[in-house]
């Protein structure tokens, strides 16, 4: 058996110790060791964006990151996006606006969009397209993905406005 390493990972806000062969990517450790299969394989070469997760709040292609590199960093996956039993506005918008057809690219796109909306609450269509250009989707033609992100951004802004008032 290959030699394993033990490492403390913080995934979706929870610190946990994981043992895995040192060559495993973050994608493989998330899926195979932690059972978080929401993050998808699409190419293992950094070409498609299906494996996008957030590492310290920034989108990262988990197929190109060694899990070992993530010790002490914060990793967020699609499983950590919902607010308890309620969908996050991005998730709701993707489901309602047709942003998800086969759904395989969806977790990756939602993570990319989440990072975008956290740094820019009112992105233009062009900015949305630029941010998600690394996430390939073969079903939607992207239009309803862009509409979903716009819809979610609007809802997040109105939530924030309500909180402030």
């Amino acid at each position: 058996m290959p030699a394993t390493v033990r490492c403390a990972l913080k995934v979706n806000g929870e610190e946990q110790g994981v043992s895995f062969p040192s060559y495993k990517t973050l994608l493989e450790v998330l899926r195979e060791e932690l059972g978080l299969t929401g993050t998808k394989h699409g190419c293992e070469l950094g070409e498609c964006g299906a494996c996008t997760v957030l590492v310290d709040g920034e989108p990262a292609l988990s197929c190109l990151v060694l899990a070992l590199e993530c010790e002490g960093r914060s990793v967020e996956t699609i499983e950590g996006v919902a607010r308890g039993p309620e969908l996050h506005p991005l998730q709701a918008a993707f489901a309602d606006f047709g942003g998800s057809q086969c759904g395989y690219c969806t977790p990756g796109v939602i993570m990319t969009a989440k990072a975008l909306l956290e740094r820019n609450a009112s992105p233009t269509r062009q900015q949305i397209k630029e941010a998600t250009a690394g996430n390939l989707c073969r079903c939607t033609g992207y239009q309803q993905i862009v509409e979903a992100i716009e819809g979610a951004a609007a809802r997040l802004r109105s939530e924030k406005a309500k909180e402030a008032s």
Partner: protein
């Protein structure tokens, strides 16, 4: 009792929407089991070779390896079509393309399996390589397969509906054009994966990313020599299919066999490179199209010849070959039509069905040629098309029955939305618009294997809780088939779709549905679902009518309530009605099934092309072409699709835009092309681009705005009038772009993809005074057979093959 639609026709979150946005949906590769082993395939590095010896001794001894399988373990071949059973899960004596699997290692993990693959020694004897259809015609020896028509010709056919030469002679003008459409691939985001294991009863279960669990089930039984009743295939939700997961794959047989041998779960997940090798994508097709037309723009006839590069195996090829012709006369009326097609084996991954299956290629040629005809006749291309439309409820020369046709409205709609009349031939140089139309089947009229049984079955179980459980073998590949099923059942029973649970794509527990191909699911599964739900409604109405003081026909099911149409009384809840009916009738369940109507054509070969209904599409593409670089920019696309009725407009619109996206990708950049390595490096034919980085597809940044119009005129053959939308909207995009480029810079690109280098090359020719065109220059001599001659309906035919001189006798 009929009521206004309450569920269908309104935008609604799809029933599987939540699972997709939370990451909870389990695709095949997301499955794992205790004691699960992993399989990897060794693939041929040669495009054509004899396998002389496979020595796997070292691999078998490698730590962690449990089993090595080779071609010797699979004596029985498979093939999706009964006439093309020509493939082994692992090659036995011959490899026919780079990537053909020859051996499999099953080990404790992928790492150990991958290491062991390198220890397998295969002795190959290299054979001459056929690199294209033309090469295959020129080199009948060595034969890639020892079956087929002759030499390397797999399929060769010819049909003539009325004397076509005569119809061309009677025309004022005959257009004779050559077109080429390069092959391309599906590129689903999900790579194929499969998990096989023995269930607690010892029966084989295969969970797989397949579009067609029923056909896979039959093929597994055949190849593994296991009774069909001892196998269960579960189609996991597909992460995109587009036709690429229709054929059974070698990997599926390998994990199934390994699970049977080892008694442990065995999984495989293909790499992206392997997905390119599995392929089964768009055939490269060379076309010659001769079309007669009168001075006032009436088509007199068409002679279409196609030559398909089939790749190394049969796959769906016999059907693909037909589809390069049979749907051509469905949009416009051709009084006479002749169609010759030839599919040649080559040493490349097998081609098969990709979205539009065989029809985008001739549609491209047909629609570009119509643009040329319109220009020559100084007619508006939209007017030329409107003038020649097939009429509703009519037959084509080839005996296809066309029921509803909304193409006229589609054309008028895109002309209006795009400002066509102000733009065509009027935009400044460098900018242009192009128009094209298309049609697609709503399900193939005949099953892939001959049988008289239904094409789709649905079973509904009503639970006392008020939940409605619907069982159907249909497969969710992202197109929304589960949502269609839930929506139709909810509408028919007057309940909220939220109480409907769909159990689909599982050959162990669901009635057979043939699969997610040929745009058949909405129509066939939908009709079966309507029948099952109506039977339940009738049963319940028969019980509760007395309580409601009415007759069964006047019982209304609406919004979770059941009441009398002509009474102001409160009626009862759906759950109360279920309780009453169950008390009297026992457990409430009903089945429904659907088989398409018998096609009117009776000649041999008339089974390909008929459909219960056809969808129609018209599209306008606007483009800007940079004459210095050849760069093609597409700012906007307008598309109108005759869908009959949009059951869930959000999903329907998504299918249309997604089809446009895929069509535009094919038009501009997608190509599954090959190159020869230098002779000193084996001279092998290898992929130019077996990766997503090199196989270009459109990103969010490249995608233009798409304005969609859904044309709704319910078709009586379809459930709630709904026609297909999954494939049709892709088809007009490629020719519309080619026509727009001509409008912009006056050059004809008669082949797909249309790349900047081709535009530049055509512009250079134009500048030199040569024909301003890039495209194929010659059509080879293809030994097409003597045609099957059939008289068109209006020449006294009866749909059977006729003698050629019968035409003269009638005329």
């Amino acid at each position: 009792m009929k009521k206004r639609l309450e569920v269908l026709g309104k935008p609604r979150r799809r029933v599987d929407g939540r699972a997709k946005v939370t990451g909870q949906l389990r695709y095949a590769d997301d499955l794992s089991m205790p004691r699960m082993l992993h399989a990897k395939l060794l693939r041929s590095p040669h495009p054509h070779a004899t396998v002389e010896k496979v020595d796997a001794e070292k691999a078998r001894k490698h730590p962690g390896v449990h089993l090595v399988l080779t071609g010797q373990d699979f004596p029985v071949p498979f093939g999706i079509m009964p006439v093309s059973v020509d493939e082994y899960p692992l090659a036995r004596e011959r490899v026919r393309y780079v990537g053909d699997p020859v051996a499999a290692v099953i080990a404790r993990d992928e790492q150990a399996a991958t290491e062991a693959l390198k220890l397998i020694e295969v002795s190959y004897r290299i054979l001459p390589v056929v690199g294209s259809a033309e090469e295959g015609l020129k080199n009948p020896e060595p034969r890639i397969h020892d079956y087929g028509e002759q030499g390397n010709i797999h399929r060769n056919q010819s049909y003539e509906f009325g004397n076509v030469e005569e119809s061309l002679k009677s025309a004022d003008l005959v257009f004779d054009d050559l077109f080429f459409y390069e092959g391309n691939t599906h590129l689903p985001m999900e790579q194929q994966a499969s998990l096989a294991f023995l269930d607690p009863e010892g029966k084989l279960q295969v969970s797989s990313s397949t579009q067609n669990p029923h056909y896979l089930h039959r093929q597994l039984a055949r190849v593994l020599q296991v009774p069909e009743a001892s196998i269960r295939v579960v189609a996991t939700p597909n992460g995109g299919g587009f036709g690429g997961k229709c054929d059974p794959g070698g990997h599926e047989f390998v994990v199934a066999k390994a699970a049977l041998v080892l008694g442990r779960p065995v999984k495989i997940g293909l790499t992206r490179e392997e997905v390119f090798y599995v392929h089964r994508g768009r055939h490269p097709v060379l076309m010659r199209m001769r079309t007669g037309v009168t001075r006032d723009g009436m088509l007199t006839g068409m002679h279409l010849q196609t030559l398909l590069d089939g790749g190394g195996y049969g796959s769906h090829g016999p059907a693909s070959t037909f589809y390069t012709g049979v749907l051509t006369p469905v949009t416009y009326h051709y009084p006479r039509f002749k169609f010759e097609a030839c599919r040649v084996f080559t040493n490349k991954p097998a081609c098969g069905p990709k979205r539009g299956h065989g029809t985008p290629q001739p549609r491209f040629g047909q629609e570009v040629q119509l643009d040329k005809i319109a220009e020559k006749l100084a007619m508006d291309p939209a007017e030329l098309r409107l003038k020649n439309l097939v009429k509703a409820n009519s037959l084509t020369a080839s005996w296809l029955h066309v029921g509803s046709i909304g193409l006229e409205e589609c054309i008028r709609k895109v002309v209006e939305l795009s400002g066509w009349k102000e733009k065509h031939r009027k935009l400044p140089r460098g900018r242009g618009v192009g128009l094209a139309c298309s049609t697609y089947m709503c399900g193939a009229g005949v099953a892939i294997y001959w049988n008289k049984m239904p094409h789709s079955g649905v079973q509904i179980l009503l639970d006392r809780s008020g939940s409605v459980i619907v069982y159907c073998g249909a497969t969710e590949i992202g197109q929304g088939s589960d949502d269609v099923l839930a929506g139709i059942v909810a509408e028919t029973l007057g309940v909220d779709p939220g109480v409907v649970r769909c159990v689909t794509g599982d050959t162990g527990i669901t009635p057979v549905d043939l699969g997610s191909y040929s745009s058949r699911v909405t129509i066939m599964m939908g009709n079966a679902a309507v029948q099952a739900a109506e039977r339940l409604r009738t049963a319940i109405a028969g019980v509760v009518c007395e309580n409601l003081n009415t007759v069964p026909d006047r019982v209304v099911f609406s919004q979770g309530r059941v009441f009398a149409a002509d009474s102001s009384g409160p009626g009862m809840t759906f759950v109360e009605a279920v309780h009453a009916a169950e008390a009297q009738l026992g457990t409430l369940s009903a089945v429904g099934s659907y088989a398409p109507p018998k096609p009117p054509g009776k000649y041999k070969g008339a089974g390909v092309g008929p459909s219960p209904a056809y969808s129609f599409t018209a599209c306008v593409v606007e483009t800007e072409v940079d004459e210095r670089t050849g760069w093609i920019h597409v700012p906007k696309i307008w598309i109108a699709h005759d869908i009959g009725r949009a059951l869930n407009p959000t999903l329907a619109r998504g299918q249309v835009i997604g089809g446009v996206y895929m069509g535009l990708g094919e038009a501009l950049m997608e190509e599954q092309s090959f190159r020869r390595l230098p002779e000193k490096l084996s001279g092998a034919l290898v992929h130019r681009a077996p990766s997503m980085l090199d196989y270009k597809s459109l990103t969010a940044l490249d995608m233009p705005e798409v304005e969609v119009a859904l044309i709704e005129d319910p078709d009586p053959n379809c459930p709630y009038g709904a026609k297909e939308v999954g494939q049709g909207p892709l088809l007009p995009v490629m020719p519309a772009l080619a026509n727009a480029i001509y409008d912009a810079v006056g050059v004809r690109i008669d082949e797909v993809p249309i790349t900047p280098d081709k535009v530049l090359s055509a512009l250079e020719r134009k500048a030199k005074g040569e024909p301003a065109r890039v495209g194929p220059e010659a059509f080879p001599a293809v030994p097409y057979p003597k045609p099957t001659f059939v008289l068109p309906p209006w020449e006294g035919g009866d749909g059977n093959e006729a003698k050629r001189d019968a035409a003269a006798a009638v005329v």
